[in-house]
């Protein structure tokens, strides 16, 4: 257990370090995503998702990683849809998400610290009201349900589609940033 927690701490340090390097500890930079002036969030997230996805796919294919040993978040469609919509409203308001708010607070930002405090209170209040939410929380249970299963396509094909979508997204992101910069200098 101590080894596992030490590993968690080390992974966390690397996680926090990369978020800060990318500038995601800054709410003003982060919200540029929502006003299409700075698409760093999209670029970082999709580079990360594509990298980890390709790594998992190839390591599993080469027999170096047993996918059965990796915990895949289970699907509960309705609560994840509604939870996502609620989360997004808070995200735009706070300008930071739970992970990046910790980085913002750690780099000295008071707004980051207040997002952390708000997040704690939100989880506490929602958890305390769990009795009223439990039926909905457990609705739409699909177990471990992946995009290849949903689309009836081989794993490798879905991986390729996500990579292509990410690359097209990066092109679009660069174009949008150039347009926003030209607009701002006018």
């Amino acid at each position: 257990m101590i080894a596992s927690l030490a590993m968690a701490f080390a992974i966390g340090i690397a996680f926090g370090w990369t978020l800060e390097r990318a500038g995601l500890g800054s709410a003003k930079k982060l919200v540029g995503q929502f006003y299409l002036t700075d698409l760093t969030v999209f670029k970082v997230m999709f580079s990360a998702i594509a990298t980890a996805m390709l790594g998992v796919f190839w390591l599993a294919r080469l027999g170096l990683l047993d996918l059965g040993q990796v915990w895949i978040p289970q699907t509960f469609l309705a609560p994840q849809l509604v939870g996502g919509l609620i989360f997004g409203c808070g995200f735009a308001c706070a300008g930071l998400c739970p992970g990046t708010s910790c980085v913002a607070a750690a780099s000295g930002r008071g707004d980051g610290a207040l997002v952390v405090a708000g997040m704690f209170c939100g989880v506490l209040a929602t958890g305390a009201s769990f009795g009223a939410l439990q039926t909905f929380y457990e609705s739409g249970a699909e177990g471990t349900f992946t995009l290849p299963e949903l689309l009836h396509l081989p794993y490798g094909v879905v991986v390729a589609i996500v990579v292509v979508v990410a690359l097209l997204g990066f092109r679009l992101a660069e174009r949008l940033e150039r347009r926003a910069a030209a607009h701002a200098s006018r």
Partner: protein, 172 residues
């Protein structure tokens, strides 16, 4: 702080770095990254101190309290403590450590802090319902191609884009 802060990294390189951290977590720990789960452990611990009998009948908190060694000896709690230290060290090394409240020019400090707290609270509610946030669902479940995680990610960004125009005044 003296001297100018260093510019941020190239977002694609930082993203590949983040992807490798996530991949390392999959390989070494058999699980991905997260953030909101650590808040849930902390909330469960505080709730059980305040009202132990009510929390005993609360299955949401009970799950976090059932951790061997208590809610604080949790994988995500240690990971998030690492995030705080890693963020601090990176900001320190880049000369970006600075006490400030980031806000739009037209917004008072108080308003920004109120928005930050309210936004955090709303995110907390969403993260409980969705069983995770941008880290545990969007990044981790996204890379593992979980349908629910992609639904969460698309819903969260759709809602943020819908709400952002109303909040433009806060960032100008």
């Amino acid at each position: 702080m003296n001297g100018a802060a260093k510019p941020y990294s190239n977002p694609y390189l930082a993203g590949v770095g983040l992807g490798l951290v996530l991949l390392a977590a999959f390989i070494a720990a058999g699980r991905g990254l997260g953030a909101s789960g650590a808040f849930a452990s902390a909330a469960a611990s505080v709730a059980s101190r305040v009202s132990p009998e009510r929390v005993a009948g609360n299955p949401y908190f009970a799950r976090y309290l059932a951790q061997p060694g208590g809610p604080w000896k949790d994988w995500l709690v240690f990971e998030l403590a690492g995030v705080v230290l890693g963020g601090f060290l990176s900001a320190l090394a880049a000369g970006r450590l600075r006490r400030e409240i980031e806000r739009g020019a037209a917004v008072s400090r108080k308003t920004r802090l109120a928005l930050a707290f309210a936004g955090g609270g709303v995110m907390g509610a969403g993260a409980v319902l969705a069983r995770g946030c941008t880290s545990g669902q969007a990044l981790t479940g996204g890379a593992l191609l979980s349908v629910g995680s992609w639904v969460f990610m698309l819903a969260a960004f759709a809602a943020a884009y819908l709400v952002a125009p109303i909040l433009r005044w806060a960032w100008r």
